[in-house]
Amino acid sequence: MGMEQLLEKYFRPGRLPHIWCPGCGHGIITGAIVKAVDKLGLSKDEVAVISGIGCSSRASGYLDFNTANTLHGRALPIASGLKMANPKLKVIVPSGDGDAAAIGGNHLIHAARRNIDLTLIVYNNSIYGMTGGQYSPLTPKGSKATTAPYLTIEPAFNLLDLAKAAGATFVARSTTFHVQNMVDVIAKAIEHKGFSIVECVTGCPTNFGRQNKIGSAPKMIEWQRDHGVMIGAWNRMDDETRAKALADGKFPIGVLYENNDVQEYTEAYDELIKRAQGGK
């Protein structure tokens, strides 16, 4: 199905154009989510999209699913409660780097630790966009931001390593250049039974690109093209090559980690209920 038909099928009528700035990659990621849902053949009634606050979080309002645009950082707890109430729902959480890694960082590690079946899509544009360009925990060290006029001195998280260490059982990354790959990994993440996180590298030309003199939206996407390396190729690199790639700011994309041997939280809870009721 082409994007035009997908819009018809999965977007709420009359809500476009979206609020995102010219060249912002968020529309590409939101489109990829819809393509993934379509690829999996899910019904709109069985999908919930729960977001927090920030540019990315506006995605929920455009989509014709069970949706919520909640509070800054709090999407994961609300999504967790919803999933507990109705484990049949496929719960997708679009989130920004500030939403997921800063104000909601505690919820991220604990949702990952529980291995609750949520799909967290981190729209990582390396900046706080909605408030106008302040640095986030995923802003690369040495970047300029409105709150870092002398460049950031804080290192960025590797959010995927963090999530994996916390217990996430599906970890993937993609970019707004590698759209087909993004659709593919998001679909796999939704299908995965357990906590999954997909970091979608995207550009914020307005608030990150401009301050850091990276250039236009196309330039930011070219940067993604030149720095994202498919995981297969990444794994085939010898240590020296990979070290150089890392030093050059390159990063692996695709499914970086998957573990299907850990019990999912709501399933574990169903077993707990059986135990509490005397093993019936």
């Binding site: 082409g2 979206h18 990659g25 939206a217």
Partner: protein, 63 residues
């Protein structure tokens, strides 16, 4: 054939940049357009639609 939804286009230029045949441009009014005379150069590869963040350009495959 390319279908352009001008009211949604924000003129970011991603489509024009990644068009392998350089069929597209951003006009003076900040909207994507097919460069006059290049209509037939489009090979319907879909690179523009794939990365248009505003859902403003679609490839309608010729029947």
């Amino acid at each position: 054939m390319l279908k352009l939804v001008s009211k949604r286009c924000k003129g970011c230029g991603i489509c024009a940049n990644f068009c392998p045949k350089k069929v597209l441009e951003i006009t003076e009014v900040g909207k994507c357009a097919i460069i006059p005379g290049k209509e037939d150069d489009c090979i319907q590869c879909g690179q523009c639609e794939l990365r248009c963040p505003d859902y403003a350009i679609f490839v309608e495959k010729d029947k």
